[in-house]
């Protein structure tokens, strides 16, 4: 019998698993895909927002601001890439200036630290490559950029190291409520648990319906992006937002922690699993980007992608215990700024759980994680590392200079993985301009050898994304 089953291993489920694993609890995370972080958590802007954009007194505002502060220590403890580069909402005219003023006031009310309105001179000092004509901006010092999937992976790994179980490829299809416990099943294996936390992102309503729950409605909004080559990243220094107007928020432009430049997102209503990019969406981005920075060249694109965010129609996060089913907790509608708030959402869930359950802290909680990133080491560190382990001397991904040693580390990690993209999320192979054209096959060979599986069974990404269809005639 588990104490807690967490359904979903996106950044919200991961944060909850991490927080709860600090307590003497038997926890199991179940995930329908073959790795963690495969929903909205891997396809978003990668921003830790300041918190001035959320409606005052909302759960969003409170948890965004709290999360913004908490995330720094977690990233430090668990070695997650985070850069505190600050954000700017840039404006051109009096109308924009008014909106920027309103945002500033909202920020102050939300208790956002380090925000100020700056004039055009200060703006161009911060962003010298910005097109001419911008007159003012809201500067938010506390905004950061982060690797969202690494935040997710790190927290799950830490939870596992502290005793949490992770069941991948486990899609919950049935939940039975007993008197004081639940049985969760995927149709093959069932798990008994005292509590359930539904953190299944775009799938939350489907899970709730298994218990005849669900008193909220959501809509699904697709955001499409361009991810540009590293040669574009030096053009922009901060997270750049346009001033929202009657046409919406417009696209944002931001460097990523991996030194690429990210441009997007669009916002179109869609279904819960549609992550295709459209020519209309790409055109919307293309039309806007050079109105902000004329030097950004979309022909330096290395990848387009889309993510689906789930917005509750109440326009706020839903974090609550079910009124019908005791010890069934719902964490839903976690749209932007969900990533920024995720670690505070987890604290909030712990609070809710502890209302009816005595939580005891573990005496020992392993709160460290170290990732070797060969590329970032000094010359002497590189020499020492290769001397210790020769696998670091073999470079596999030539665009990003990722060594075989780093790939083997990822494969030795607490989460059992066997796809090329799972390696990519952990050590950045194939993140460069050739997008795995050269290293993809080498990564497959290393996975096959290390996990002792046939190369034909290695997928690019999720189940079914096979790469090899059959064998050749072998000269027959």
């Amino acid at each position: 019998m588990f104490d807690v089953v967490i359904i979903g291993s996106g950044v919200v489920g991961a944060s909850i698993a991490y927080e709860l694993s600090k307590y003497k609890l038997n926890i199991c995370v179940v995930e329908k895909e073959n790795d963690v972080s495969l929903g909205a958590s891997r396809a978003n802007s990668g921003i830790i927002h300041g918190g001035y954009d959320c409606v005052e007194n909302s759960l969003m505002a409170k948890l965004n601001v709290e999360g913004n502060i908490l995330v720094h220590q977690i990233c430090k403890d668990l070695d997650v890439p985070l850069k505190n580069i600050g954000s700017l909402v840039i404006g051109k005219n009096d109308e924009d200036k008014q909106v920027i003023n309103d945002l500033y006031n909202r920020g102050i009310n939300n208790n956002v630290k380090g925000i100020k309105i700056i004039d055009s001179k200060q703006l161009y000092q911060l962003e010298p490559n910005l097109n001419e004509g911008f007159t003012c901006a809201l500067y938010c010092e506390s905004a950061s950029i982060i690797s969202p999937w690494e935040l997710c992976i790190a927290q799950i790994e830490c939870a596992i190291n502290n005793g949490c179980k992770l069941n991948l490829n486990y899609e919950v299809t049935e939940i039975v409520a007993h008197n004081n416990y639940y049985t969760v099943s995927n149709g093959e294996n069932s798990i008994d648990t005292k509590m359930i936390i539904n953190a299944s992102g775009a799938g939350s309503i489907k899970i709730d319906e298994l218990l005849d729950e669900c008193d909220y409605q959501c809509k699904y909004v697709k955001g499409e992006y361009y991810l540009l080559d590293k040669n574009q990243s030096s053009i922009v220094n901060h997270v750049i937002f346009q001033t929202p107007n009657k046409n919406g928020k417009g696209i944002l432009i931001t460097p990523t922690v991996h030194n690429n430049l990210l441009v997007g997102p669009t916002a179109t209503n869609t279904t819960s699993d549609d992550t295709s990019v459209s020519s209309d969406g790409l055109q919307i981005i293309a039309k806007q980007v050079n109105n902000i920075y004329k030097d950004i060249n979309l022909r330096e694109n290395i990848r387009n992608f889309a993510g689906v965010r789930v917005r509750s129609l109440k326009k706020d996060f839903i974090i609550k215990e079910s009124t019908k089913n005791k010890n069934y907790f719902i964490v839903a509608g976690i749209a932007s700024p969900g990533l920024s708030a995720s670690v505070a959402i987890a604290k909030k869930v712990v609070e809710l759980v502890s209302v009816n359950n005595q939580l005891q802290q573990k005496e020992t909680f392993i709160n460290t994680r170290k990732v070797i990133r060969f590329n970032e080491l000094s010359e002497n560190e590189k020499i020492d590392l290769i001397n210790k382990d020769k696998n670091y001397g073999r470079i596999v991904c030539r665009c990003e200079n990722i060594s075989e040693g780093e790939i083997i580390n990822a494969l030795n990690g607490p989460i059992s993985i066997s796809s090329i993209d799972a390696i990519k999320r952990r050590c950045n192979t194939g993140m460069g301009r050739c997008q795995g054209g050269f290293c993809g096959v080498k990564v497959m060979e290393i996975i096959a050898k290390h996990q002792n599986i046939a190369i034909e069974n290695i997928t690019a990404d999720k189940k079914g994304s096979y790469i090899i269809s059959n064998v050749t005639k072998k000269g027959v």
Partner: protein, 418 residues
């Protein structure tokens, strides 16, 4: 201290190392990232190599093997499975491998011969899903020819570059269906002989002025939409054709891999994406030379070899202190709007003891036309051509006399009747 270090052990690296040795360099080293020499030739098991250089037809591995043998006979040092991660402009190389670890190597001169990579799917922003089954033609070639694995059963090829055409035939021979080769331009981007031998002979339709406008598939490609484009490459609504397929192979261009060159502060030509070089294949950094597909993308390996022999020779002469000071006066080679680029881009006045071979590519298709080479004194060379195609690199020899007493040479194309 090496006389010459060659970065890359493909055809350009092999040729330049042999030439360096034969022109007097004593200590020559090739650094190759793969575990064998030969580069991409090792996966090019089709024939058609060597017609110009050896006057016989070889397959890729055979062509490479001839040079690998010469490398071994010439007592050239080799580091395999070794990645160069830094080159400084004072010609220090940092390389790593899993045997010797971290290596710092110095050379009197360096030849950059890292080759090129394929343009990836991201660079062309095809709408639709990001499912498996979208792969560059070269990656598919590696899987099939080197590993013995097929990458799909029903394939559409986007782009008509030579690798795409070669792979169309290869896939059919291995039992796959190739439904079409789709090319956005109104002409093929591959050599005519490859269109005939790889598509026409196998009844594979070549859809010119068409492109893929959507890829559909949850986890693996399931279907694609192909549309016709107008003369400005805008999609014509209503022209959509559906193909049920599991694979899309991309053959949409090659890009010289100059990340290391940039670290060495070598000036790059935006048109070629390769180094700007003098007639001796020397880059803007004294003593660093460049040749082969890292300099500009070639159609034929024979041309790569000839260029690499030049680079190797002059790298050796530089190492032996017989070179000419790079600060001497130079002649610029310019091209008109019909031509994409030319290589070399500059000729040194002090190096006018021989005629100069200039390579260039036209930007669009020309029927009956004339290549005109003019110097500042209005002396001209005219070469009539029945046609010129962007996919066929042109090479012209310019007599050394034409360079005398001028600071600029212009290469232009004149269409018949103009």
């Amino acid at each position: 201290m090496y006389d010459v270090i060659v970065v890359g052990g493909g055809p350009a690296g092999l040729g330049s190392a042999i030439s360096a040795k034969q022109n007097g360099a004593k200590k020559v080293l090739i650094i190759e990232r793969d575990n064998v020499l030969g580069g991409i030739l090792n996966q090019c098991i089709h024939n058609g190599f060597g017609l110009h250089y050896f006057n016989e037809e070889l397959c890729g591995p055979e062509y490479a093997d001839r040079f690998i043998k010469m490398v071994k006979e010439n007592d050239i040092e080799i580091l395999l499975d070794t990645m160069v991660i830094e080159i400084s402009d004072n010609k220090e190389i940092v390389a790593i491998n899993n045997q010797q670890g971290y290596l710092k190597l110095a050379a009197k001169s360096i030849v950059l011969a890292m080759g090129c990579r394929e343009r990836a799917a991201g660079a062309i922003s095809i709408p639709g899903n990001r499912c498996a089954g979208i792969m560059s033609a070269g990656s598919a070639q590696y899987f099939i020819n080197k590993q013995g694995y097929m990458v799909g059963k029903k394939v559409v090829i986007l782009g008509s570059g030579d690798i795409g055409l070669i792979m169309a035939r290869r896939l059919v021979l291995e039992g796959a269906q190739v439904l079409a080769c789709v090319e956005i331009m109104p002409y093929s981007n591959g050599l005519v002989r490859n269109v005939v031998q790889c598509l026409n002979d196998f009844d594979i339709p070549l859809l010119l002025s068409h492109t893929i406008t959507k890829i559909i598939g949850k986890n693996r490609v399931e279907k694609i939409i192909v549309s016709k484009v107008d003369e400005n490459r805008n999609v014509i609504i209503g022209s959509e054709i559906e193909f049920d397929c599991d694979t899309v192979l991309l053959s949409v261009g090659l890009i010289p891999e100059n990340e290391l060159s940039k670290k060495a502060n070598v000036d790059i030509d935006k048109r070629t994406n390769g180094a700007i070089v003098y007639d001796n294949m020397e880059t803007s950094v004294s003593g660093i030379f460049s040749c082969g597909n890292v300099l500009h993308v070639h159609d034929l390996v024979d041309h790569v070899t000839l260029e690499s022999l030049q680079a190797g020779k002059y790298a050796a002469l530089y190492a032996m202190n017989q070179t000419i000071n790079s600060e001497n006066k130079t002649i610029s080679l310019k091209v008109d709007a019909n031509i994409g680029y030319c290589v070399p881009q500059k000729v040194r006045l002090t190096n006018l003891n021989e005629d100069k071979k200039i390579s260039f590519r036209v930007k669009k298709k020309f029927d009956s036309c004339t290549i005109i080479i003019t110097n500042a004194n209005n002396q001209e060379i005219k070469i009539n051509k029945p046609y010129l195609l962007p996919c066929e690199m042109q090479q012209v020899m310019i007599k050394k006399e034409l360079f005398e007493n001028c600071d600029e040479i212009l290469i232009s194309i004149k269409e018949k009747g103009e």
